[in-house]
């Protein structure tokens, strides 16, 4: 108990610091850097929601597409039916959740490798539908002129107000996801992951819990998708392709997936490095790819395991490493 409470404090402190830093940060940045900051904040919600899905031990390849489901929902509703962003934003989440629920019936008949491939196939099928059905989705080029949020007289076309809105919404969502992981449900999801049969034997309906994680994770990433496209003004299939999915995977793996903050760390650190590589844009994917391989091979615990590794170096050899 004690150790986990101390650990919670550390996470809380980190989050508060991060939040405070993010509030003052945009004023010191150039225009394109402010853009970058908005996307980074949204991506934090993307990785944290993905973490919930992976807690049950299944790595899905459909998370990026779920983000797209939310993005398209919000974009098309607000553009074609003139519905306010503040209504389409939650609807984006609901839609992604509903699609996830429907997909859970076929997908959760599969596990491990099959689930991975199945989720990839289902996601790609959805994405190709956006390309194929030009009405209403807009085809390969997507749909543009997505209306900006409206609230009092705030100009959400400017990056700083939009950033503050994103920060608040993402902050709330990440906090809620954190609460879920630390709650009874989080514990049960761990149980489902490590020994599904044993969990089942004490009354845990493992299917329901896998579905819960998948649906709730998709719901939050749907919101992230809406946040993203209402800023860019365009929604297109390319934004949610397997390439972006791979970025999510890389963030989570490089950051580390054993703790809540690992994925956030990965997204932040890698995005900043990525931003600094702007000058050599052509090489960026290769650097990402090489980083990924090096981490998997030499630091499978991710960035989050570095403090522990350092601690281990200083510790006397009173026990053999396990």
């Amino acid at each position: 108990m004690n150790s986990s409470r101390k650990f919670n404090l550390k996470v809380a402190l980190l989050l508060v610091l991060l939040f405070a830093g993010l509030v003052i940060l945009p004023h010191f940045l150039k225009y394109h850097q402010q853009d970058f900051l908005i996307f980074l904040t949204i991506n934090i919600l993307v990785v944290v929601s993905y973490r919930l899905v992976t807690l049950t031990g299944e790595w899905s390849l459909i998370h990026a597409v779920m983000m797209g489901v939310g993005a398209y929902t919000s974009a098309l509703l607000s553009k074609n039916f003139d519905i306010s962003f503040w209504i389409t934003l939650p609807l984006a989440g609901v839609m992604a959740g509903v699609v996830a629920l429907l997909l859970s019936y076929p997908l959760f008949r599969m596990t491990q490798f099959y689930f991975l491939i199945g989720s990839f196939a289902a996601g790609e099928a959805i994405r190709l539908c956006w390309i194929q059905f030009i009405k209403p989705f807009g085809g390969t080029g997507g749909t543009s002129a997505i209306p900006s949020p409206e609230l009092m007289n705030i100009d959400f076309l400017e990056p700083i107000p939009y950033f503050y809105m994103v920060l608040i919404i993402v902050g709330i969502c990440v906090y809620l996801l954190y609460r879920i992981e630390k709650s009874r449900i989080g514990l049960t999801l761990h149980a489902v992951h490590w020994k599904g049969v044993l969990a089942e034997s004490v009354g845990v309906n493992t299917w329901n819990y896998r579905t819960l994680a998948f649906v709730v994770g998709s719901l939050f990433v749907g919101i992230a998708g809406a946040l993203k496209v209402h800023y860019i003004g365009t929604v297109a299939p390319k934004q949610f392709d397997i390439g972006f999915m791979v970025f999510i995977l890389i963030w989570v793996i490089v950051g580390g997936y054993r703790t809540f903050y690992g994925a956030i760390l990965g997204a932040v650190v890698l995005s900043i490095i990525d931003e600094m590589l702007r000058g050599v844009a052509q090489l960026r994917p290769a650097i990402y790819g090489a980083t990924l391989i090096l981490f998997i091979l030499y630091l499978p615990g991710g960035l989050e395991s570095i403090p522990q590794k350092i601690k281990q170096l200083f510790r006397t050899r009173r026990e053999e490493p396990v």
Partner: protein, 289 residues
């Protein structure tokens, strides 16, 4: 009616590429239980080799085909040695490594070919065979399908008639049992990924004059290979070949009468359906955990 017959012919020719591309994926998954996401990029590198050395530098086509095979085999062997082998007990790790390779290879291709529009390679075999006045088969396609069939036949011979081939099949059926019988799984993995990569390189080389070459062409290849692998039965080579023919016909027909995107969407849906109803595919055996 003419369109129908022509579509059947086109479908059969297409199936050669599908089978060549899928077989490598099946082999690697069979012996190492790792999904090689970079497999499509191996095909892409094969195609780029043709573009660079044949179309740009003017080397003879057949020579560059061999070059493509050798080059891609080399990449495959490097992947096996430095990525898949250390990751043998962590299939997810192996998969993620292969995604890393995918990125690297795409950048290499962009670097070699430059950005901009897709590359074209003028067909080395010109002219068109016309059958019964209506059915047209360009000689280039005829050449491709002939080589594909030959390569698959050689592979078939290798897997069923040689000791090494037998060992590969044994390992992909039951890794543990094969190890107990004294088969060196490391050596088998090396051979399997080498053969698989060679096939991918050949597929890319054959495809090069018939398709648009760009760094992202691997994406469609890997989707096709996944569909064929799953429908044929994970780990089953005959299954993959049969599924290649069926899926190529299906895809060509839907493309001809509707659209290419619809064809791929339906293919993906079929694959999901197979995963649900019969995860072992049409020819597969149960994969031991």
């Amino acid at each position: 009616m003419d369109l129908f017959v022509q579509t059947v012919v086109n479908g059969f020719i297409q199936s050669g590429f599908y089978a060549l591309a899928a077989i490598g994926l099946v082999l690697v998954f069979g012996v190492m239980r790792v999904v090689n996401f970079a497999h499509g990029e191996l095909v892409m590198i094969g195609a780029y080799t043709i573009w660079l050395f044949h179309a740009q530098y003017g080397m003879p086509y057949l020579l560059t085909v061999i070059l493509a095979i050798l080059l891609v085999t080399g990449i495959g062997l490097l992947m096996e040695r430095f990525l898949f082998r250390p990751m043998i007990n962590d299939p997810l790790g192996g998969l993620i490594c292969s995604i890393g390779v995918l990125f690297v290879l795409q950048v290499v291709a962009t670097y070699v070919g430059g950005e901009g529009p897709s590359k074209q390679v003028p067909p080395p075999f010109e002219g068109t065979l016309i059958l019964m006045d209506t059915i047209r088969i360009p000689y280039q396609r005829l050449f491709s399908i002939a080589v594909s069939i030959l390569a698959l036949a050689l592979l078939w011979y290798f897997l069923t008639r040689t000791k090494l081939g037998w060992a590969i099949r044994a390992v992909s059926m039951d890794r543990e049992a094969a190890t107990l019988q004294g088969i060196s799984t490391i050596r088998i993995s090396t051979v399997a990924i080498g053969v698989g990569a060679a096939m991918a390189g050949l597929a890319g080389a054959l495809m090069a004059p018939l398709t648009n070459i760009n760094p992202h062409m691997g994406h469609n290849v890997i989707i096709t290979a996944f569909i064929v692998t799953i429908v044929g039965g994970v780990g089953s080579l005959p299954g993959a070949v049969i599924a290649s023919v069926l899926y190529a016909l299906f895809h060509t027909f839907v493309t001809t009468y509707f659209s290419g995107t619809i064809a791929t969407i339906s293919g993906l849906l079929i694959m999901v359906l197979v995963l649900i109803v019969r995860p072992t595919g049409i020819m597969g055996h149960r994969v031991s955990e």
